[in-house]
Subunit: 236 residues, 2 copies
């Protein structure tokens, strides 16, 4: 199967969680908007196509299927790409973990846009500083301690006792948080040895290492979800 | 199969999306915390049980399975309860729609808690007024127009051309929004004839009507997700 991934150009964004799965598995795919421009996405949002209507990118075309929402796409790809365990209970758990990662990603986004996605960061900076402080002090420790505990229950090396798309997403989560909140992550890092070690192992997987070294891996930037605004990180 | 639903007492909250599916299907279930208190939930969050670790309620026990995240639970229950179409493409679409509903529910929550869940509403009221204005003017129209379009593409009567858990969740979404933002919803309602009609039909389904009339259906209140603070609604 050849896949078409649709996601905004210029950022890693939510599309990156899907890209990492496709890259890790060595799947054949086009990153359509990077080739044709963002208009290729808008055509689907306008609903002129047959089939499922996406609310927002990323979405994946797989034959005639149009599949939106990161966790839904990964759940669909997991079995075919060998990125999820066989058993029903593990697949449900994988999906639950992915949804929890997506929840945290939304909170990270809202730390720099607590009032409105449609406003500039500069127009909500004061509110962002309040919200980011809560993210660093309350939410990040809660979520990351949870994932650390998940790894511990899974034997220490994987979220699900074997490699899966969840491990790839945890890598991306840690990479994004390290970029956005380097001081807070240094403070919290000592309590997250399993997450740290997992991130290191994922980065060394041959396909992932090659991808991270390629021009397809865009650098993090201040248009994406994980943004580095020093005033939103721990005070020096 | 007998199910155990775990969700905080005293509110409809996110648990209500699962309750509506169980009630509509006439499934056998215990609402465990309402019988045993919230401690029954905390035991699972502490991770002393075998199997999947939930991050937060609601979660469902189905035999030995522990399943968390609303959309994950509904996806699991859908086929057994006859609340999702047969085909893979429709099931993927159902799940995508449910995830999009969950995204909006999170935004509705953040409209009254834009800074921190851990703070009182009163401590973030000014920020809430800014965020709620954006929700009413930008986000609600965008999401609700989208769902209206989904209904139109599905033939007008259902999200998926037949009854499903998505229709039940759209009913709950509209009920919650009507409670929280009566003036904004009256303004927007004229553009949402299909969503309005669907909500009416769902409320008249015999099992749903009986449930809504029972003491199991808690009233909306200001501890839940959908809260009525007049200052967050359209100005008079």
């Amino acid at each position: 199967m050849h896949y078409e991934l649709y996601y905004w150009t210029g950022i890693q964004g939510r599309g990156e969680f899907v890209r990492l799965a496709l890259e890790d598995a060595g799947a054949s795919y086009d990153d359509v908007a990077r080739e044709q421009g963002d208009d290729a996405i808008v055509r689907f949002l306008d609903g002129t196509h047959e089939g499922a209507l996406p609310f927002a990118p990323p979405f994946l075309k797989a034959g005639r299927l149009v599949i939106a929402q990161v966790a839904n796409i990964l759940q669909y790809l997991g079995p075919t790409l060998g990125l999820v365990p066989e058993s029903e209970s593990r697949r449900l758990y994988a999906h639950q973990l992915q949804l929890t990662i997506c929840d945290l990603v939304a909170e990270v986004h809202d730390a720099h846009h607590p009032i409105a996605s449609s406003l500039y960061y500069e127009d909500q900076r004061a509110e962002a500083q309040r919200r980011a402080a809560d993210l660093r002090e309350t939410r990040l420790p809660k979520f990351l301690d949870y994932f650390e505990q998940v790894l511990e229950r899974g034997g220490g090396r994987h979220a699900l006792r074997e490699h899966s798309y969840v491990d790839l997403s945890l890598f991306q989560l840690m990479a994004g948080l390290d970029y956005a909140f380097p001081r807070a992550m240094q403070r919290l890092g000592h309590q997250l040895p399993l997450l740290r070690a997992l991130s290191g192992r994922v980065a060394e997987r041959p396909h992932i290492a090659a991808y991270l070294d390629s021009s397809r891996r865009l650098p993090f930037n201040e248009n994406g979800i994980f943004r580095h605004y020093p005033e939103l990180d721990d005070p020096r």
